[in-house]
Amino acid sequence: MSGSLGRAAAALLRWGRGGLWGPGVRAAGSGGGGGGSAEQLDTLVKKDKVVVFLKGTPEQPQCGFSNAVVQILRLHGVSDYAAYNVLDDPQLRQGIKDYSNWPTIPQVYLNGEFVGGCDILLQMHQNGDLVEELKKLGIRSALLDETKDQDSK
Protein backbone atom coordinates (compact mmCIF):
# COMPACT_ATOMS: atom_id res chain seq x y z
CA MET A 1 0.00 0.00 0.00
CA SER A 2 2.78 2.45 0.73
CA GLY A 3 3.97 1.71 -2.79
CA SER A 4 0.65 2.79 -4.19
CA LEU A 5 0.74 5.96 -2.16
CA GLY A 6 4.21 6.55 -3.50
CA ARG A 7 2.95 6.29 -7.05
CA ALA A 8 0.09 8.61 -6.27
CA ALA A 9 2.63 11.04 -4.88
CA ALA A 10 4.70 10.72 -8.03
CA ALA A 11 1.63 11.55 -10.07
CA LEU A 12 1.03 14.49 -7.81
CA LEU A 13 4.53 15.76 -8.40
CA ARG A 14 3.53 16.49 -11.96
CA TRP A 15 1.50 19.22 -10.29
CA GLY A 16 -1.52 19.09 -12.54
CA ARG A 17 -3.94 21.89 -12.02
CA GLY A 18 -7.21 20.12 -11.62
CA GLY A 19 -10.52 21.81 -11.65
CA LEU A 20 -12.95 19.26 -10.24
CA TRP A 21 -14.16 20.06 -6.78
CA GLY A 22 -16.59 18.42 -4.49
CA PRO A 23 -19.54 20.52 -3.49
CA GLY A 24 -18.35 20.66 0.10
CA VAL A 25 -15.34 22.90 -0.36
CA ARG A 26 -16.11 26.28 1.04
CA ALA A 27 -14.10 29.22 -0.11
CA ALA A 28 -14.59 31.03 3.16
CA GLY A 29 -12.03 33.75 2.76
CA SER A 30 -13.96 36.59 1.23
CA GLY A 31 -15.99 38.53 3.70
CA GLY A 32 -16.82 36.25 6.59
CA GLY A 33 -13.38 35.32 7.85
CA GLY A 34 -12.12 38.86 8.46
CA GLY A 35 -9.98 39.82 11.41
CA GLY A 36 -6.63 38.57 12.51
CA SER A 37 -6.64 38.45 16.32
CA ALA A 38 -5.42 35.26 17.94
CA GLU A 39 -8.82 34.74 19.52
CA GLN A 40 -10.68 35.06 16.23
CA LEU A 41 -8.21 32.79 14.50
CA ASP A 42 -8.46 30.22 17.25
CA THR A 43 -12.21 30.06 16.66
CA LEU A 44 -11.67 29.93 12.91
CA VAL A 45 -9.24 26.99 12.87
CA LYS A 46 -11.39 25.02 15.32
CA LYS A 47 -14.67 25.59 13.52
CA ASP A 48 -14.00 22.89 10.91
CA LYS A 49 -12.15 19.58 10.99
CA VAL A 50 -9.98 20.52 8.04
CA VAL A 51 -9.02 24.17 7.59
CA VAL A 52 -6.56 25.59 5.08
CA PHE A 53 -5.22 29.08 4.51
CA LEU A 54 -4.32 29.60 0.87
CA LYS A 55 -3.17 32.18 -1.60
CA GLY A 56 -6.19 32.05 -3.84
CA THR A 57 -9.14 29.70 -3.63
CA PRO A 58 -9.41 25.92 -4.07
CA GLU A 59 -10.98 26.62 -7.47
CA GLN A 60 -8.24 29.03 -8.45
CA PRO A 61 -5.08 28.81 -6.36
CA GLN A 62 -2.72 31.73 -6.92
CA CYS A 63 0.45 29.94 -5.82
CA GLY A 64 1.97 26.59 -6.69
CA PHE A 65 2.34 25.59 -3.05
CA SER A 66 -1.27 26.43 -2.25
CA ASN A 67 -2.31 24.48 -5.33
CA ALA A 68 -0.32 21.49 -4.09
CA VAL A 69 -2.24 21.50 -0.80
CA VAL A 70 -5.54 21.62 -2.68
CA GLN A 71 -4.43 18.77 -4.95
CA ILE A 72 -3.35 16.58 -2.03
CA LEU A 73 -6.71 17.03 -0.30
CA ARG A 74 -8.46 16.28 -3.57
CA LEU A 75 -6.44 13.08 -4.03
CA HIS A 76 -7.63 11.93 -0.63
CA GLY A 77 -11.20 12.82 -1.50
CA VAL A 78 -11.39 15.46 1.22
CA SER A 79 -14.06 17.75 -0.13
CA ASP A 80 -15.54 19.14 3.05
CA TYR A 81 -13.02 21.66 4.26
CA ALA A 82 -12.84 25.36 4.95
CA ALA A 83 -10.47 27.36 2.78
CA TYR A 84 -9.52 30.96 3.54
CA ASN A 85 -7.91 33.15 0.92
CA VAL A 86 -5.27 35.31 2.62
CA LEU A 87 -4.92 37.46 -0.51
CA ASP A 88 -8.39 38.82 0.26
CA ASP A 89 -7.45 39.95 3.74
CA PRO A 90 -4.04 41.42 4.70
CA GLN A 91 -4.94 41.18 8.40
CA LEU A 92 -5.69 37.49 8.06
CA ARG A 93 -2.51 36.99 6.04
CA GLN A 94 -0.32 38.38 8.83
CA GLY A 95 -2.53 37.19 11.67
CA ILE A 96 -2.39 33.52 10.76
CA LYS A 97 1.41 33.68 10.49
CA ASP A 98 1.58 35.15 13.98
CA TYR A 99 -0.99 32.68 15.32
CA SER A 100 0.94 29.60 14.20
CA ASN A 101 4.39 31.20 14.43
CA TRP A 102 4.90 30.03 10.84
CA PRO A 103 6.19 32.46 8.22
CA THR A 104 4.59 31.14 5.05
CA ILE A 105 1.30 30.32 3.34
CA PRO A 106 -0.28 27.76 2.80
CA GLN A 107 -1.08 26.52 6.28
CA VAL A 108 -3.06 23.39 7.12
CA TYR A 109 -5.01 22.69 10.33
CA LEU A 110 -6.52 19.34 11.25
CA ASN A 111 -8.94 19.27 14.16
CA GLY A 112 -7.83 22.75 15.18
CA GLU A 113 -4.19 21.79 15.27
CA PHE A 114 -1.58 23.28 12.99
CA VAL A 115 0.12 20.50 11.00
CA GLY A 116 2.34 22.51 8.65
CA GLY A 117 2.58 23.87 5.15
CA CYS A 118 2.89 22.31 1.72
CA ASP A 119 6.14 20.43 2.40
CA ILE A 120 4.83 18.73 5.53
CA LEU A 121 1.43 17.88 4.04
CA LEU A 122 3.19 16.37 1.02
CA GLN A 123 5.45 14.38 3.33
CA MET A 124 2.42 13.14 5.31
CA HIS A 125 0.77 12.21 2.04
CA GLN A 126 3.82 10.28 0.86
CA ASN A 127 4.47 8.37 4.08
CA GLY A 128 0.84 7.48 4.76
CA ASP A 129 0.44 9.67 7.85
CA LEU A 130 -2.23 11.77 6.20
CA VAL A 131 -4.47 8.73 5.74
CA GLU A 132 -4.11 8.01 9.46
CA GLU A 133 -4.68 11.59 10.56
CA LEU A 134 -7.80 11.84 8.41
CA LYS A 135 -9.05 8.58 9.90
CA LYS A 136 -8.78 10.14 13.37
CA LEU A 137 -11.11 12.87 12.14
CA GLY A 138 -13.57 10.31 10.84
CA ILE A 139 -12.62 10.96 7.21
CA ARG A 140 -11.85 7.96 5.05
CA SER A 141 -9.17 8.78 2.49
CA ALA A 142 -10.27 8.09 -1.06
CA LEU A 143 -6.80 6.69 -1.72
CA LEU A 144 -7.75 3.64 0.35
CA ASP A 145 -10.49 2.89 -2.17
CA GLU A 146 -8.69 3.93 -5.30
CA THR A 147 -5.47 2.08 -4.69
CA LYS A 148 -6.27 -0.49 -7.35
CA ASP A 149 -7.09 2.17 -9.92
CA GLN A 150 -3.81 3.91 -9.22
CA ASP A 151 -1.94 0.64 -9.62
CA SER A 152 -3.46 -0.19 -12.96
CA LYS A 153 -2.47 3.09 -14.57
Binding site: G64, N67, D119
Partner: protein, 137 residues
Protein backbone atom coordinates in the same frame (compact mmCIF):
# COMPACT_ATOMS: atom_id res chain seq x y z
CA UNK B 1 14.53 -0.37 -11.20
CA UNK B 2 17.69 -0.87 -9.24
CA UNK B 3 19.78 0.73 -11.94
CA UNK B 4 17.35 3.62 -12.06
CA UNK B 5 17.92 4.23 -8.37
CA UNK B 6 21.65 4.01 -8.87
CA UNK B 7 21.55 6.55 -11.66
CA UNK B 8 19.48 8.90 -9.53
CA UNK B 9 21.88 8.50 -6.67
CA UNK B 10 24.91 9.10 -8.83
CA UNK B 11 23.28 12.11 -10.40
CA UNK B 12 22.48 13.49 -6.99
CA UNK B 13 26.04 12.93 -5.81
CA UNK B 14 27.34 14.68 -8.90
CA UNK B 15 25.07 17.64 -8.36
CA UNK B 16 26.18 17.83 -4.75
CA UNK B 17 29.79 18.09 -5.85
CA UNK B 18 28.77 20.89 -8.18
CA UNK B 19 26.95 22.66 -5.38
CA UNK B 20 29.97 22.35 -3.16
CA UNK B 21 32.00 24.17 -5.78
CA UNK B 22 29.50 26.89 -6.45
CA UNK B 23 26.23 27.53 -8.13
CA UNK B 24 25.46 24.99 -10.84
CA UNK B 25 24.52 26.53 -14.10
CA UNK B 26 22.83 29.64 -12.80
CA UNK B 27 25.77 31.99 -12.59
CA UNK B 28 26.52 33.87 -9.42
CA UNK B 29 25.37 33.28 -5.87
CA UNK B 30 23.51 36.29 -4.55
CA UNK B 31 23.99 37.81 -1.10
CA UNK B 32 20.73 36.41 0.30
CA UNK B 33 21.60 32.90 -0.88
CA UNK B 34 25.05 33.21 0.69
CA UNK B 35 23.55 34.39 3.97
CA UNK B 36 21.03 31.55 4.04
CA UNK B 37 23.82 29.06 3.54
CA UNK B 38 26.01 30.57 6.26
CA UNK B 39 23.20 30.81 8.80
CA UNK B 40 22.00 27.25 8.25
CA UNK B 41 25.56 25.93 8.50
CA UNK B 42 26.05 27.76 11.78
CA UNK B 43 22.70 26.84 13.27
CA UNK B 44 22.34 23.20 12.23
CA UNK B 45 25.81 21.96 11.33
CA UNK B 46 24.41 20.10 8.32
CA UNK B 47 26.06 17.09 6.78
CA UNK B 48 24.54 18.08 3.44
CA UNK B 49 23.13 21.48 2.56
CA UNK B 50 21.61 21.91 -0.87
CA UNK B 51 20.16 25.27 -1.76
CA UNK B 52 18.45 26.33 -4.96
CA UNK B 53 17.30 29.80 -5.89
CA UNK B 54 13.96 29.13 -7.57
CA UNK B 55 13.06 32.78 -8.01
CA UNK B 56 13.51 32.53 -11.78
CA UNK B 57 10.31 30.49 -12.00
CA UNK B 58 8.26 33.24 -10.43
CA UNK B 59 6.87 36.62 -11.37
CA UNK B 60 9.82 38.57 -10.01
CA UNK B 61 12.63 40.51 -11.76
CA UNK B 62 15.63 38.58 -13.09
CA UNK B 63 18.31 38.03 -10.47
CA UNK B 64 15.79 38.12 -7.61
CA UNK B 65 16.37 36.18 -4.39
CA UNK B 66 12.84 35.64 -3.19
CA UNK B 67 12.05 31.95 -3.66
CA UNK B 68 14.33 29.20 -2.38
CA UNK B 69 14.33 25.46 -1.82
CA UNK B 70 16.66 23.94 0.70
CA UNK B 71 17.57 20.43 1.77
CA UNK B 72 19.13 20.40 5.22
CA UNK B 73 20.56 17.09 6.36
CA UNK B 74 21.49 17.17 10.02
CA UNK B 75 21.69 14.79 12.95
CA UNK B 76 20.06 17.60 14.97
CA UNK B 77 16.77 16.49 13.42
CA UNK B 78 16.89 13.04 15.04
CA UNK B 79 13.77 12.45 17.10
CA UNK B 80 12.09 15.68 15.99
CA UNK B 81 8.76 15.92 14.17
CA UNK B 82 8.64 17.54 10.73
CA UNK B 83 7.05 20.59 12.33
CA UNK B 84 9.86 20.92 14.88
CA UNK B 85 12.51 20.49 12.18
CA UNK B 86 10.98 23.17 10.00
CA UNK B 87 10.74 25.50 12.98
CA UNK B 88 14.49 25.13 13.55
CA UNK B 89 15.14 26.13 9.94
CA UNK B 90 12.68 29.03 10.22
CA UNK B 91 14.37 30.20 13.43
CA UNK B 92 17.80 30.19 11.79
CA UNK B 93 16.44 32.26 8.90
CA UNK B 94 13.98 34.45 10.80
CA UNK B 95 15.53 37.65 9.50
CA UNK B 96 15.50 36.52 5.87
CA UNK B 97 11.93 35.20 6.11
CA UNK B 98 10.77 38.49 7.60
CA UNK B 99 12.57 40.34 4.83
CA UNK B 100 13.55 39.39 1.28
CA UNK B 101 12.62 35.70 1.25
CA UNK B 102 9.06 35.22 0.12
CA UNK B 103 8.96 31.41 -0.19
CA UNK B 104 11.11 28.69 1.31
CA UNK B 105 10.53 25.03 0.55
CA UNK B 106 12.22 22.85 3.15
CA UNK B 107 13.40 19.25 3.12
CA UNK B 108 14.66 18.64 6.66
CA UNK B 109 16.16 15.15 6.87
CA UNK B 110 18.30 13.09 9.14
CA UNK B 111 21.42 11.63 7.49
CA UNK B 112 19.76 8.18 7.31
CA UNK B 113 16.61 9.61 5.69
CA UNK B 114 18.69 11.52 3.17
CA UNK B 115 20.55 8.39 2.12
CA UNK B 116 17.20 6.77 1.25
CA UNK B 117 16.40 9.50 -1.26
CA UNK B 118 19.25 11.97 -1.63
CA UNK B 119 17.76 14.58 -3.89
CA UNK B 120 16.54 18.12 -3.81
CA UNK B 121 12.95 18.00 -5.06
CA UNK B 122 11.37 20.29 -7.60
CA UNK B 123 8.84 22.87 -6.50
CA UNK B 124 5.43 23.20 -8.13
CA UNK B 125 5.18 25.88 -10.81
CA UNK B 126 4.23 29.40 -9.87
CA UNK B 127 0.61 30.33 -10.45
CA UNK B 128 1.23 34.03 -10.49
CA UNK B 129 -0.16 35.07 -7.13
CA UNK B 130 2.52 37.53 -6.14
CA UNK B 131 1.54 40.96 -4.90
CA UNK B 132 2.23 42.53 -8.29
CA UNK B 133 0.22 40.10 -10.34
CA UNK B 134 -2.55 39.82 -7.80
CA UNK B 135 -5.92 39.71 -9.44
CA UNK B 136 -4.69 38.50 -12.80
CA UNK B 137 -5.41 34.81 -13.33
Amino acid sequence: MLSGQLVRRLFSMASRVCLARGSPGSGTIGPVEATIRTKLEQALNPEVLELRNESGGHAVPAGSETHFRVAVVSSRFEGLSPLQRHRLVHAALAEELAGPVHALAIQARTPAQWRENPQLDVSPPCLGGSKKTRGTP
